[in-house]
């Protein structure tokens, strides 16, 4: 039986979920889509995926996106500890404690985001772009579809315990993965038909040797279950196709393994290539 052919061209969305450096696999996906002449009508990103969503929606080619990531996401962005935050956590009655908590001084990451993204605004992206964060006080998903790109990305990557929540307007925001690690719902709401989605489960700790690792483990358990629950719902709710592209990594990819980016991109490309024949059937023949 043939696939249903809509009367208009299907609107194609690419959704890049959380997953730190693993999200670089989205560069491989874009390489394949560009090579095949498959148009992308919108890009949605959250957390690590927000960085790649931004680069790709701005129109950077794969090589530039890779170069920019290597410049942005280096281990030294977490080197400067936020000593005051640590003291506030240990002795809250002495130093005072509030929701602006993050163990890493975020000045460097902010500086890098500004270097990499400049003054770009979301609405100026070549491909319509939507980035997600989470309201710290209500848990609601917050979607940025316009406004300064740096602000939205900084909010989207506000990893709990590491970077302090980020204020945008009157809302205090934390990492987008806390409301949905793979925000397919945004693409559905924005009118996408075919949704190509790339998402990653948070890694589990092999050894829990500190309170922070304990917290990360709890966070991974929660977010992985949230990822599955939301994905299940979106699969049933969507009127057209959701194509998961799930690259498989033989090597473990850690938070700052930027040296493995070429490998990650390659795996993303490999996983995407497998779906091209079907995707081609959904969107029609390659333009002449």
């Amino acid at each position: 039986m043939e696939a249903e052919v809509p009367s208009r061209r299907s609107r194609i969305a690419v959704v890049i979920g959380s997953g730190s450096v693993k999200c670089a696999a989205a560069i491989g996906l874009f390489k394949v889509l560009q090579r095949e002449g498959i148009p992308v009508d919108m890009v949605v990103g959250c957390s690590g995926g927000a960085i790649y969503a931004a680069f790709l929606a701005l129109g950077h080619d794969a090589a530039t996106a890779e170069k920019k990531t290597r410049e942005l996401w280096t281990r030294d962005i977490t080197h400067r500890r936020n000593t005051r935050a640590l003291l506030r956590a240990i002795l809250p009655q002495v130093f005072g404690f509030d929701e602006r908590f993050g163990l890493v001084d975020d000045r460097r990451v902010l500086e890098r985001l500004r270097d990499g993204l400049g003054d770009s605004r979301i609405e100026d992206a070549r491909i319509p772009l939507h980035l997600t964060a989470t309201d710290f006080h209500t848990g609601e998903q917050v979607v940025f579809s316009r406004g300064p790109l740096v602000e939205a990305v900084r909010a989207s990557i506000a990893i709990p315990y590491i970077f302090e929540p980020w204020r945008v307007g009157d809302r205090l925001l934390v990492d987008g993965f806390l409301s949905d690690p793979m925000p397919i719902g945004v693409a559905i709401r924005e009118g996408a038909d075919v949704i190509i989605t790339m998402g990653f489960e948070s890694p589990y700790q092999t050894k829990v040797t500190s309170a922070l690792r304990f917290a990360f483990q709890i966070s991974s358990i929660t977010s992985n279950n949230l990822l599955k629950a939301n994905y299940a719902f979106h699969n049933l709710a969507h009127h057209h196709e959701i194509l998961p592209i799930l690259p498989q990594f033989q090597h473990k990819i850690h938070l700052f393994d930027t040296d493995k980016i070429p490998y990650v991109i390659e795996e993303g490309e490999r996983a995407a290539e497998k779906q091209i024949p079907y995707l081609r059937g959904l969107v029609g023949p390659r333009p002449a």
């Binding site: 039986m1 696939a3 049933l236």
Partner: protein, 112 residues
């Protein structure tokens, strides 16, 4: 996608080959439904030859699971390949479907 149907006493084994997606899911649903309407509500989906499933494929499986269970039967899957298993797991299907290592084990599971 190729579909082969084999009857093993009161169990219908439906072997699927290829991708279960929007282009092929309607044919799969039709095969499942034909079996169910024919009274074969105990179905084993032999997925050893399935290399991918999209959202349309997942919806087809869910529809059949509900239909068979409403009639006192079940849809159970056998030999699900790693790539497909990952999608099933991500979508929560490994929590609601019974999966078996091979077709014989899946067929035998209906004996109890």
């Amino acid at each position: 996608m190729d579909i082969r149907i084999e009857r093993r006493e009161r169990v219908s084994v439906i072997a699927v080959e290829g991708s279960v997606d929007g282009a092929t899911a309607p044919a799969l649903v039709a095969s499942f439904r034909e079996e169910v309407l024919g009274g074969m509500v105990r179905i084993v989906g032999d997925f050893s030859g399935v290399d991918y499933t999209s959202s349309a494929g997942l919806r087809a499986l869910l529809e059949t699971v509900k239909e068979t269970r409403q009639r006192g039967g079940d849809l159970r899957l056998a030999s699900v390949q790693p790539d497909v298993w990952r999608v099933l797991d991500l979508a929560g299907f490994t929590g609601i479907l019974k999966l078996y290592g091979d077709t014989d084990a899946a067929v035998a599971s209906f004996a109890g």
